[in-house]
Amino acid sequence: MFRYIVRRLLQMVLTFFGATFVVYALMFANVDDPYQVLAGERSLTESQRTGLNARYHLDDGFFTQYWHYVKGLLTGDLGQSLTGRPISEMLSQAWPVTIRLALFAIVIAAVVAVGAGVLSGIRRGGAFDTVTLVLTLVVLAMPIVVLAPLAQLVFGIQLGWFPPTATRDANLYQLLLPALVLGTLVVATELRVTRSSVAENLRADYVRTARAKGLAPKRVIGVHVLRNSLIPVITLIGVDIGALMSGAVVTEGVFNIPGVGFNLFRGIRTEDGPLVVGFVSVLVIVFLVINLIVDLLYAVLDPRIRYE
C-alpha cells in the first residue's frame, strides 16, 4: 500500500507540472503581444501593462515566465484580475457555493444512477432496462448549453416550480434545479457502469454461494452484489468531477449562481485574461488532487489494484 501511495504521489507531481505547463503554453507560447492576449479586444492602460508584467514577467524568456507562474500557484498568489481585485480573494468567496452545488449534483446523480442501475442490472432486457438505456442515451446527448437554459425557461419561468436564479447563500431548494441540470452530465455514464457491473457480479461464484447458503435475495443484492459493483462507480466519480467543473461554468452562468464557474464565465465575457488563467489553473489542480484521492480510495476498496 505504502509503495502504491508513493508511486501515485510521484505520478501526480509529474502530471501537475505537465498540466500546468500545457495550460500556460496554450495561453502564452509564441504570442506576439501577450498583453493583448490577456486583455483580448479591450485596450490596456500603461499601468495595467506594468501590472501584468510584474505578475507574468512577460519580458523574460518563456521558461522563466512559467517558473514564476508555478511559484505563484504553489504559494497561493494568483495575482490580480484586470479589475484590480486579488484573484485568490475572489476564489475563496466563490468556492463555498460551487462546492455545495457540485456535492448536491453528485449526490443526486449517484442516488439516481445506483438506484436505477441496480434495478436495470437485475432485469437486463426488461422493459425498465430498455427505457432506462434509451433515456441515458438522450441525456448523454444533451449538451449543458441546451439543458440549462431550457430547464430555467420551463421549470423556472413558465411553470414557476423553482426559482430561476440563486444567490450566494442559496438554500438547497434554490440549488435543486441547477444541481439537477449539472447532475445530468454524469448520471448517464454512472448508471450504465452500475448496470453492467451489477449484471456481471450477479453471475459471480460468490453470489451463487450466498444464495446457496439461503440468504434473502435482498441481502444478496443489497450487501454482496452492491458492494462489489460500486467500486468502478466510485472511480468514475473522480473523472466526473472534471465534467462537473466544465459544466458548472455554463450552469452557474445561466442560473446566476456566484460561484467559481460564474466568475470564470464573467471573466471570459469581459476578456479578463489573468482571471481566466488563474481560475483554470486552480481548477486543474483541484481536479488532480481529487483524482489522487479517488485513486487511493480505490486501492483501499479493491486490494487487487495494489499488486499491479
Partner: protein, 304 residues
C-alpha cells in the same frame, strides 16, 4: 440497447450460406441493418447533412435579412418560428446554423482522429520508452478538464478580431480531443500486433511501416472509428458551448450556440429563438451519439 441483439443474431447466419466471405465489417452491417436505432440516427444524420450542404432546400428566407421592426414578431409570413430580438427569421437562422456546426465538428474530429491515430499506432506498435512517453503525455492532457483547456486555448487563438473564430474553434477542439481515440487505438494495436498473421508478415520481411499500415491498422481500426463517431457529437456540442461562452464563433457567424446565448436574456418574453436552436443542436448531437452506440454494439462480437 445491446440486449436487442439477441433477436438479431438469428438473422446473421444466412451470409456464409450464400457462399460469401463473412468479414467483421460485413457481419456488423447485417447486425446494424436490423437495428431500429441505427436507422433513426442515420435518417437524422442525412437530414442534417442536407441542411448543411444546401440550406436553401429548407428555407427561402435569408438568415442575415434582419429588420428591427420585426423584433420578436410571432410566427407567420413564411417565418415558421417567428423572429428573434434583432428581427431575424429564427427558422432560417437555425437551418443555416447546421453548416458551421457540422464543418467545425467534422474538421475537429478529423484533426483529433489524425493525432489519435498516429499517437496510438506508434505507442502501441513500438511499445517501450516511446509508449511510456506518449502515454504520460496523454495522462497530462487528460488531467485538464476538456472545457477548461478549450476556454484557454480558444481565447488565445480567437484574439484576432478580424476572424469569425471558425479556425480557432476547429484547432481548439481538435488539439484537445484526441486522447480517448489515441488510447483506444493503442490498445487495439497492442492486441493485433501479436497475432499470427502479423508474425507471418514480419517473417516475410515486411517493414514496420508496411506491417503497421497494411496488416495491423485495418484490423484495429473499428473501435477507433466508433470513438470518432461519438467524438463528432461531442465536438458539435463543444462548438456550441464555446460559442455560447463567447470564445467560439463570433461576429457574423451563424451558430446554434451563439443563438442560444443571444436568446437567453429574452426567453421570458419570447421562447422560440431559444427553444429551436436548442432542439436542433440536441438532435444533431443525439444522432451522432446514437450512431456511434449502434455501430459499437454491432462491431463488438462479445455483445452479440
Amino acid at each position: 440497447m445491446s440486449d436487442n441483439n439477441v433477436v438479431s443474431t438469428v438473422e446473421a447466419p444466412d451470409v456464409p450460406s450464400e457462399g460469401k466471405l463473412s468479414s467483421l465489417a460485413g457481419d456488423a452491417w447485417l447486425e446494424l441493418r436490423s437495428r431500429k436505432i441505427f436507422w433513426i440516427a442515420a435518417v437524422l444524420v442525412v437530414v442534417i447533412l442536407l441542411m448543411a450542404l444546401w440550406p436553401s432546400l429548407f428555407t427561402s428566407a435569408d438568415p442575415r435579412d434582419c429588420v428591427l421592426a420585426r423584433k420578436h414578431a410571432g410566427a407567420g409570413g413564411g417565418a415558421l418560428f417567428g423572429y428573434d430580438f434583432q428581427g431575424c427569421d429564427v427558422y432560417a437562422k437555425t437551418v443555416y446554423g447546421a453548416r458551421d456546426s457540422l464543418l467545425v465538428g467534422i474538421s475537429a474530429t478529423l484533426i483529433a482522429g489524425l493525432i489519435g491515430l498516429v499517437v496510438g499506432l506508434l505507442a502501441g506498435y513500438f511499445g517501450g520508452w516511446l509508449d511510456a512517453l506518449l502515454s504520460r503525455f496523454v495522462d497530462v492532457v487528460l488531467a485538464i478538464p476538456f472545457l477548461l483547456g478549450a476556454i484557454v486555448l480558444a481565447k488565445r487563438l480567437a484574439s484576432d478580431p478580424e476572424s469569425n473564430g471558425l479556425f480557432a474553434v476547429i484547432v481548439t477542439l481538435g488539439v484537445l480531443g484526441w486522447t480517448t481515440a489515441a488510447r483506444v487505438m493503442r490498445s487495439a494495436v497492442i492486441s493485433a500486433k501479436n497475432q499470427d498473421y502479423v508474425t507471418a508478415a514480419r517473417m516475410l520481411g515486411a517493414s514496420p511501416a508496411r506491417l503497421m499500415l497494411r496488416h495491423i491498422l485495418p484490423n484495429s481500426i473499428s473501435p477507433f472509428i466508433v470513438v470518432l463517431t461519438v467524438l463528432l457529437g461531442i465536438n458539435i456540442a463543444g462548438e456550441a458551448t464555446l460559442s455560447y461562452l463567447g470564445v467560439g464563433l463570433k461576429g457574423d457567424a451563424i451558430s446554434w450556440g451563439l443563438a442560444i446565448a443571444e436568446a437567453g436574456p429574452y426567453a421570458r418574453t419570447v421562447a422560440a429563438p431559444l427553444v429551436w436552436p436548442s432542439i436542433f443542436l440536441a438532435a444533431t448531437v443525439l444522432a451522432f451519439i446514437m450512431l456511434g452506440d449502434a455501430v459499437r454494439d454491432a462491431f463488438d462480437p462479445k455483445l452479440r
